[in-house]
């Protein structure tokens, strides 16, 4: 078993359940930038009063204007987005335009107002002792892995220089990989990297070295494949889930997913959950 990464002494491990609390009430930020990244956008907003988020935490976002507009008078409620980066009081979010809310956010320009409530939810926790971090992302689900990579690298923990596996639909989406450092890529159409699923790469990687903690975020079928592979091999995995949300702070009980212990609220019990909590994704 070869350990490709230097597993230096762990500094500042990030335990579960200790994430920054959100200031009470949404706050009005100013958009600092909104950049194209292949098929995605990276929205940057100055958040001088915001606490630095934990990796895997998210925020509820809404445009200060035109939220309540559009053909169907949507978006009406705020939308959830993982922090993808935090740089000196600036929060970065990676966006995929899939509907009225993300569309509106993708249109924001420098200087526009942005409502933010956060940081919210439970993020990622350090790898178990002696395990390396293995990051697996699909599509816009790579967003929280970037900030997690930053955190691991800064902490110099076992997870530093983690192996990163990313899957995308096609070349345009694969450009999103630039958010993370060196990564192995897979695309559905074979235009970049492995022609197939990122979970194929995960299988290879685990065949090579099972001493890993897997951190995964992406579409449910991908997460389920990760969960199943890790379960079969007895490998710890932390999965960042998604669910439709109305509030983001546990008020509406709308964002549930079924777990072994009953329904979990993704916004307060997650979004990052231990794969063992789930029967299936």
């Amino acid at each position: 078993m070869s350990v490709g990464k230097s597993s230096s002494a762990r500094r500042a491990p990030i335990p579960r359940g200790e994430y920054p609390k959100a200031p009470f009430g949404r706050r009005l930020l100013t958009v600092a930038g909104n950049e194209v990244l292949g098929a995605y956008r990276v929205l940057k907003a100055a958040d001088p009063k915001g606490p630095e988020p934990g990796a895997g935490q998210f925020a509820m976002l809404a445009g200060a204007e035109r939220w309540g507009a559009g053909e169907d008078e949507r978006p009406y409620l705020p939308r959830a987005f993982s922090y993808t980066r935090w740089r000196d009081g600036e929060a970065h979010f990676m966006l995929e335009d899939v509907g009225p809310g993300t569309h509106r956010l993708c249109e924001l320009r420098e200087g526009d107002g942005l409502w933010l409530l956060g940081p919210l939810g439970q993020g990622f926790a350090s790898p178990e002792y002696g395990r390396r971090a293995l990051l697996v992302g699909g599509g816009v689900g790579i967003a929280p892995l970037a900030i997690w990579q930053d955190t691991l690298d800064a902490a110099g923990a076992a997870g530093a220089n983690a192996t990163v596996l990313l899957g995308f639909r096609d070349r345009a989406h694969a450009e999103g990989a630039a958010l993370l450092g060196e990564a192995r890529l897979a695309t559905d159409d074979g235009s970049v990297g492995h022609h197939g699923w990122v979970t194929d790469l995960l299988g290879e990687e685990l065949d090579r070295d099972e001493d890993a903690t897997v951190y995964a975020c992406g579409p449910p079928p991908m997460l389920e494949a990760v969960r199943a592979q890790c379960a079969a091999r007895g490998i710890p995995a932390q999965l960042a889930l998604e669910a439709g949300m109305a509030c983001g702070f546990g008020a509406c009980f709308g964002c549930v997913v079924p777990a072994r212990s009953g329904y979990l609220r993704v916004c307060v019990d997650g979004p990052v959950v231990d794969a063992l909590e789930l029967e299936r994704v």
Binding site: R26, P75, L117, A243, G244, V268
Partner: protein
């Protein structure tokens, strides 16, 4: 702007709508700031039932036109879990606690009220009557005769103030309010959510515009919400809520807690203007958890001399 409701002295007239704010979760999320700047003058619990409920399968939310359709399904730990696990935490909130309960028979409701009655941490009780009667299937709250009978039957179970939360899905909400009053309610609250439906946007349409009716009915389209139907709340219902609250306030002499689509102090003011004593904020808290305080401040500022 202090106000009194059935003997409770409140700092201002804004409370939360049942099921739209989880103070325990919010404490975890926002820490001490929640207690320091608690947005409501009283805290209304979500609906508690005798036995625990998991709630409906997801999806539970649908964003409608300026509104929200929910099908949460009243998940809760059950009466015992509530008393043992939630009550101690809720009792330490800086405001009085109103516990919302629901049952499908008078016996169930009386038990819920009776047990709550023993706990002095609970300042008042709210009875959610948007619950199907186990025998008739119809919501208890839709039929004034049945409603009066149920309220009268359960009324002796508690000496605490009893607020009956009416259903808006009825022919004449003023008559239902009178029934609740006649049954012994100390106050009424409204509106609860309006029955609504959402279809799966990704499911392909399956109705055929054919002359025969049966074809269309054979293959019903996929409903979006795990619970099937849902309830509409938020801005879209505001004008309906105002009409119902006005109708109720002019029908009864007990106090009225008005709610439905309130987003600003102006909206709250209108409900007070048509006769509500308190105003509850529901869906809008999802957009901003501190909106309750903002509305209370807005009301105070507007009424300052």
């Amino acid at each position: 702007m202090s106000v009194e409701l059935c003997g409770l002295h409140l700092d201002h007239p804004i409370v939360n709508g049942s099921g739209t704010f989880d103070a325990i979760a919010a404490r975890r999320v926002f820490g001490e700031a929640l207690d320091r700047e608690f947005p409501f003058a009283a805290f209304v619990s979500k609906t508690i039932t005798l036995t625990s409920r998991a709630g409906n399968p997801p999806p539970r939310l649908w964003e409608a036109q300026a509104g929200l359709v929910n099908s949460i399904g009243l998940p809760n730990r059950g009466l015992r879990g509530y008393i043992e696990r939630d009550l101690p935490e809720l009792a330490s909130l800086p405001v009085p606690l109103i516990t919302n309960v629901m049952g499908s028979t008078a016996e169930e409701i009386a038990e819920l009220l009776g047990v709550c009655d023993e706990h002095e941490e609970i300042a008042a009780l709210e009875l959610n009557v948007s619950c199907p009667n186990v025998h008739t299937g119809l919501d208890i709250g839709t039929d004034p005769v049945q409603l009066e009978r149920v309220v009268a039957a359960v009324r002796p179970a508690t000496t605490k103030p009893l607020i009956v939360k009416l259903t808006p899905n009825c022919a004449d909400v003023g008559e239902c309010a009178r029934a609740a009053e006649a049954g012994g309610a100390d106050a009424v609250s409204l509106i609860n959510t309006l029955r609504a439906l959402a279809l799966d946007p990704s499911a392909r349409s399956c109705a055929v515009a054919a002359p025969g009716a049966s074809a269309a009915r054979a293959a019903l389209p996929r409903r979006w919400l795990g619970g099937g139907g849902g309830g509409l709340s938020g801005a879209a219902v505001r004008a309906i809520a105002l009409a119902q609250v006005a109708a109720v306030a002019s029908s009864v002499s007990i106090p009225v807690v008005g709610m439905g689509g309130v987003q600003t102090a102006t909206h709250a003011r209108r409900l007070l203007d048509v006769g509500a004593r308190l105003v509850a904020v529901g869906t809008e808290s999802f957009r901003d958890p501190t909106v309750g305080s903002q509305i209370a401040r807005g009301l105070a500022a507007a009424s300052a001399p």
